[in-house]
Amino acid sequence: MELPRIEGERDNIFLTSSNPTWDPARALVRIRELQTLPGALLPILHALQEEFGYVDDAAIPLVSQALNLSHAEVHGVITFYHDFHREPGGRHLLQICRAESCQSMGCNALVRHVENKLAAKLGETTADGAFTLKPVYCLGNCALSPAVMLDGKPYGRVSEEVVDFLIDSARRM
C-alpha cells in the first residue's frame, strides 16, 4: 500500500546520514558508480551527501580526479547550491517554508516560534546537535500552507502546536 520503494532508498535525499564519519573508500565507491554519467557532478555530490550527510572538503580532490575537473570547479559547484552542506548537520532536518504562500498563512510567526523553541536560527544546528533548521522556498504544498518538512516527510497546515508535537516526537526518537 505504500509507494513502491527502490532498494536502499531513503525518504530524504539530503537527510543526515546514519554513518557520517568521512571515509575515502566509501566515497570512492559512490563516485565510481556514477562517474561515467553525462554531467555526473551533481549526482555524485548528492550520493556523497546521502552517504555522509554532508560533502567533506576531502572529497573535492577525489571528485576532481574522477571527473577531470579542477578543485576550484568542484568547490564552486558545492558552494553554489543551497542543498550541499560542507559539515555534518543535526540528527534531524527541519525545513520551514518561508515563501509567499506560507507567508500568507503566517509562516513568519511560525519561524519565530520554532527559533525560540530550539534556540537556533534558520540555517543553524541546535546546541545538542538534534536539529538543523533550514528555510526552504516552497515545498509545493501551497494549498495547505504553512508547510514544513521534517526528515523528508511533508506536513501541511502546521500550527505552533503541530510543530511542537513534531519536534518533541523527533527528539524522543
Binding site: M1, E2, L3, P4, R5, I6, E9, D11, N12, I13, F14, L37, P38, G39, A40, L41, L42, P43, L45, H46, L67, E73, G76, V77, F80, Y81, H82, D83, F84, Q95, A99, E100, S101, C102, Q103, S104, M105, V136, Y137, C138, L139, G140, N141, C142, A143, L144, S145, A147, M149, G152, K153, P154, Y155, G156, R157
Partner: protein, 505 residues
C-alpha cells in the same frame, strides 16, 4: 472492490498514510479479502485531503477529510457501499469544484494508480503516441503549432515553434529536457503530475523526441520534491521494462540541489551538465545549442504533459478551449489564504475573481481580501480592483502582471505590501546566480532602499531611487529572475502606496 487513498505529498502532509494504515487494519480485522487499497494521486481538492474514494456501481464515492479515528465509523456506516455519512461527499465526479473544471492535462490525475502502466493505458494513455508514430516529424511539429500550446513555465512561448527550431537544426544528438524545477511559491501542478500521473510526462517527452529527432530525455526535478523524484524514477523503470522507453528514446531523472535559478532554462542546462547553475547569455538559443552544446527542447513539465492529449484528440480539439492567443487550458493552482485551495484546470479566460471566489471560496481566515500574487515570486501583486482580469497571457501583460506557471496566492488584510516588496528583493538576492550585476547587486540595494522608505528616510527620493533601480533590473538583467523581480516590487508600490507611507517603529 477498490478503496483509493492518495499518496500525493500534500495528502501525506495531512495524514494520508495513517488513514491508509487504519483502512488496511480495518479490512483485515473484518476479514474482507476482496478489498484492495490503491494509492492514487490527488484530485487536487486539498481541503478535503485525505480524500478517500470507494468504487461503487454508481461510480466512485468520496469521503473527506478522513482521519484515522473515523475509519471504523465509516466502515460501520457502509462506506464500502458508498452509503451516507457526515464526511460523504457523494459521487466524486459530481463535486461542483471538479465538475466545473475542464481537465485535459489532469484527465487521469487522482483517478489512476500512478505506477500502474495498465491503469494508464486503460484510461487513454499512449493513444497520443500511437497516433504520433504514424506521422512525420514535420507533421508532429505542425500539429503542436496548430494546437496553440504555449510554454506553461511562464514565458508562454509557442511550444511547436520551439520544436520546429530543434527539428531544423542538424545535429548528431538532440535532447528533450523537462523542466520540473517548479520553484514558484503557490505552484504544485508539476509535483501533482509526477506523483499522480508520471506516465503522461513520459509519453509527452517521447512524442517530443519523435518530433525533433531526439533519443535522450532528462527530467530535472527540484530536490524539495523527494516523493515526486521517487515516483518519476520508478515510472521510468516501469516504462523501460515494458518497452516504452529504450534505445529509440530513453529518459534519465536528475535531481536539482535547492537553487531557484535552475528553473531558468539555461541555468538548468548548466546544472544538468554538472556546473554552477549560472545563466547563459542568449543567443545561442538552447534550441540551437543547448545541453552539451546540442539542440535541445527545454519545456515545462505541464507543456510536455499536455502533448499526449493534443495528439490523442487532435490540435483542433485543444485549441477550441481558451481565449485570444491563449489556447487550451491553464492549470490554475489556488494557494495561500483561501478556504478551498486546490488545482483548477480551466480554459484560459476565467477571471481572477471567479478563481478566488467561485472556486477558492474567499480567504481561509475569513478576513477581507487585500492582495493576490499570480505567477510566483516574480509575479505582480494585484488589488481588488484588478480581480476582473481574465487569466490570459496578454490580459495579464496589459496590467503589468504575468500568469507564470499559474500559481495564485491570496493574502488577507493583514498583509503588508512593503514587507512583500522587500521579500521580493531579498529572495532575488538569495537566489541570484551572480552572473549579471543588476540582479546580483541590485537586489541587495533594493532591500536597503525599501528599508529606508519604510523607516521614513527621505521617502520621496528613495521611492524614485527604487523605481530607477527596478528599471535597471528590468532592462539590464540577463534572465527573468532579475528582469521580473521589479514586477512584485513596482506593483506593490503602485497599487498599495499606503503601505510604504506608514512609519514603522
Amino acid at each position: 472492490m477498490r478503496i483509493y487513498v492518495p499518496c500525493d505529498s500534500s495528502a501525506l502532509s495531512v495524514g494520508a498514510d495513517a488513514v491508509a494504515r487504519a483502512i488496511m487494519a480495518e479490512i483485515s480485522s473484518r476479514g474482507l479479502s476482496d478489498v484492495t487499497v490503491i494509492r492514487n494521486g490527488s484530485r487536487g481538492l486539498f481541503w478535503l485531503e485525505p480524500l478517500v474514494e470507494v468504487e461503487t456501481a454508481r461510480g466512485r464515492v468520496a469521503y473527506g477529510p478522513v482521519t484515522p479515528g473515523v475509519v471504523v465509523e465509516l466502515f460501520d456506516a457502509g462506506m464500502l457501499e458508498g452509503k451516507p455519512h457526515g464526511l460523504c461527499l457523494g459521487l466524486t465526479e459530481e463535486i461542483p469544484y471538479l465538475k466545473r473544471q475542464e481537465r485535459l492535462t489532469f484527465a487521469r490525475c487522482g483517478i489512476t494508480d500512478p505506477l500502474s502502466l495498465s491503469d494508464y493505458i486503460a484510461h487513454g494513455g499512449y493513444q497520443g503516441l500511437k497516433r504520433a508514430r504514424t506521422m512525420t516529424p514535420e507533421a508532429i511539429v505542425e500539429e503542436t503549432v496548430q494546437s496553440g500550446l504555449r510554454g506553461r513555465g511562464g514565458a508562454g512561448f509557442p511550444t511547436g515553434i520551439k520544436w520546429r527550431t530543434v527539428l531544423k537544426t542538424p545535429a548528431s544528438q538532440k535532447y528533450i529536457v523537462c523542466n520540473a524545477d517548479e520553484g514558484d511559491s503557490g505552484t504544485y501542478a508539476d509535483r501533482m503530475i509526477m506523483e499522480g500521473d508520471p506516465f503522461v510526462l513520459i509519453e509527452g517527452m517521447t512524442i517530443a523526441g519523435l518530433a525533433v529527432g531526439a533519443t535522450q530525455g532528462y527530467v530535472y526535478i527540484r530536490s524539495e520534491y523527494p516523493h515526486g523524484f521517487r515516483t518519476m524514477r520508478r515510472a521510468v523503470e516501469i516504462a523501460r521494462e515494458a518497452g516504452y522507453l529504450g534505445p529509440d528514446f530513453d529518459i534519465d531523472i536528475r535531481l536539482g540541489a535547492g537553487a531557484y535559478i535552475c528553473g531558468e532554462e539555461t541555468s538548468l542546462l548548466e546544472s544538468l551538465e554538472g556546473k554552477r547553475g549560472q545563466v547563459r547569455p542568449r543567443p545561442p538559443l538552447p534550441a540551437v545549442e543547448g545541453l552539451f552544446g546540442k539542440p535541445t527542447v527545454v519545456n515545462n513539465l505541464i507543456s510536455l504533459a499536455t502533448v499526449p492529449i493534443i495528439f490523442d484528440r487532435g490540435a483542433q480539439f485543444y485549441r477550441d478551449f481558451g481565449m485570444g492567443r491563449s489556447r487550451g487550458t491553464l492549470t490554475i493552482q489556488l494557494a495561500g489564504n483561501l478556504k478551498y485551495a486546490g488545482l483548477v484546470e480551466k480554459a484560459f479566460g476565467l477571471t481572477l475573481r471567479e478563481a478566488i471566489y467561485d472556486f477558492g471560496g474567499g480567504t481561509r481566515t475569513g478576513r477581507p481580501f487585500r492582495a493576490v500574487q499570480v505567477g510566483g515570486p516574480l509575479g505582480a501583486y494585484f488589488p481588488e480592483a484588478l480581480l476582473d482580469t481574465p487569466l490570459d497571457y496578454e490580459a495579464f501583460a496589459e496590467k503589468k502582471g504575468l500568469i507564470g506557471h499559474g500559481g495564485v496566492v491570496v493574502f488577507d488584510d493583514t498583509v503588508d505590501l512593503a514587507e512583500q516588496a522587500r521579500f521580493a528583493m531579498e529572495f532575488c538576492a538569495i537566489e541570484s546566480c551572480g552572473k549579471c550585476t543588476p540582479c546580483r547587486i541590485g537586489s541587495t540595494r533594493g532591500v536597503e532602499v525599501i528599508d529606508r522608505i519604510v523607516a521614513g528616510q527621505d521617502r520621496a527620493r528613495n521611492l524614485e531611487l527604487l523605481n530607477d533601480l527596478c528599471e535597471t533590473l528590468l532592462d539590464g538583467s540577463l534572465c527573468a529572475l532579475g528582469g521580473l523581480t521589479p514586477f512584485p516590487v513596482q506593483s506593490a508600490v503602485h497599487h498599495f502606496p499606503e503601505d510604504f507611507a506608514k512609519l514603522k517603529v
